[in-house]
Symmetry: C2
Subunit: 222 residues, 2 copies
């Protein structure tokens, strides 16, 4: 098993280098980059659909939709008004890496962009180890998944800057407790910025969109 | 990257050997072994709680609860009446492997068991590649995750024998369509045995428990 661990370290270190270059390049172009991570079905694509609808007129947004299989999410994002949308089909691999994202950004005209939103593969474990050159990781958790998830998958919550709690319209349909999930998340990462929202009803989307817009403006003015 | 792929193949081939030995040993002792896989929060632990309650008096059941971090699930299973419960904390690794399971079964008195239920790490990608010596993989999907999941994570649905659709009490609270999820799953794996149930309300649990009991009796009588 030492072989495997040594190789993993090498792969991660190569990824970190590529991600570092990508981050420099995106920052030189003053592009805000977010890496959205979560379990399958927490609502990453739904949140991006709503975000595009709200911010498309004010910002130039590119989207990368990663999936193990199918380009369904990329199609959904295009239908939602996404102007620059690229799928990445990993073909079985459990996470995006910096090389995959770079292969897309190499095709983009970076001077014409304000925001790059990367939707990672649905997986609460592996994507936490792979830097994609983003400014921040945003971890989604839905109220139907249980309030214990930050404790059981701490790596992702530790390495994320933002936690979005989705599906608040379903609060009360399980024993998910909002105070408990926040306390659990803070016990892992006291710096987490938190949003509560429902992509279905639209509740709570405004503060998220406003925050994201502010981050993009801040990056643009640097 | 060839290095990494070569190492992965070696690791998988070593795992397959260990899993093969474990399968032989479990079969020699006529123990039914199921490997439960799903996204985080689909309800693996909840289903096992209900299963123990229903089958504990008729069968001798051992449970292995795998998690990236915490022994919470093992504690829940003990509280639910589990008599032989072992946690496996992977400490960041994204799946169980045959070595981890063997390290538990080596501690068990296999003559005194009928059923071994293994709850894998919540991850719809990586655990599909790791044989644990089970008779069958059982993949859970909850109605809140979206009916497109079999298409987006085909490996898991291809390698599972059973699909349990949980949280049917929440049908109607999203655009999840039961006919669509089944059609999507069958397009990946036409042999899937399917159950629809709600661990919360108890609906649909009886056919699952009955089926599981029958599988155990069939294995015992071989």
């Amino acid at each position: 098993m030492m072989d495997k661990i040594a190789i993993e370290k090498k792969v991660l270190s190569e990824n970190d280098k590529l991600a570092g270059s990508l981050r420099e390049r995106l920052t030189a172009h003053r592009i805000l980059c977010l890496n959205l991570v979560s379990s399958p079905g927490s609502g990453k694509t739904s949140l991006l659909e709503k975000t595009i609808a709200a911010l498309n007129s004010e910002f130039r947004i590119a989207l990368i939709a990663g999936d193990v299989q199918t380009e369904n999410d990329a199609r959904r994002l295009k239908r939602a008004g996404g102007k620059v949308v690229f799928p990445i089909v990993t073909g079985g691999r459990c996470h995006l890496d910096a090389r995959m994202v770079t292969s897309i950004t190499d095709q983009l005209s970076l001077d014409d962009l304000d925001i790059l939103l990367v939707e990672n593969v649905g997986n609460l474990v592996c994507p936490s180890s792979y830097d994609l050159g983003e400014d921040m990781k945003v971890v989604l958790i839905s109220t139907t998944e249980g309030d214990d998830k930050p404790l059981k998958y701490p790596g992702m919550f530790l390495r994320s800057s933002v936690m979005v709690i989705n599906k608040i319209d379903l609060l009360g349909s399980s024993d998910f407790d909002m105070a408990t999930v926040k306390q659990n998340a803070r016990s892992i990462n006291g710096q987490l910025i938190m949003f509560e929202l429902s992509c279905r009803t639209g509740a709570g989307l405004a503060p998220w969109n406003q925050w994201l817009g502010e981050q993009a403006k801040r990056k643009r003015s640097r």
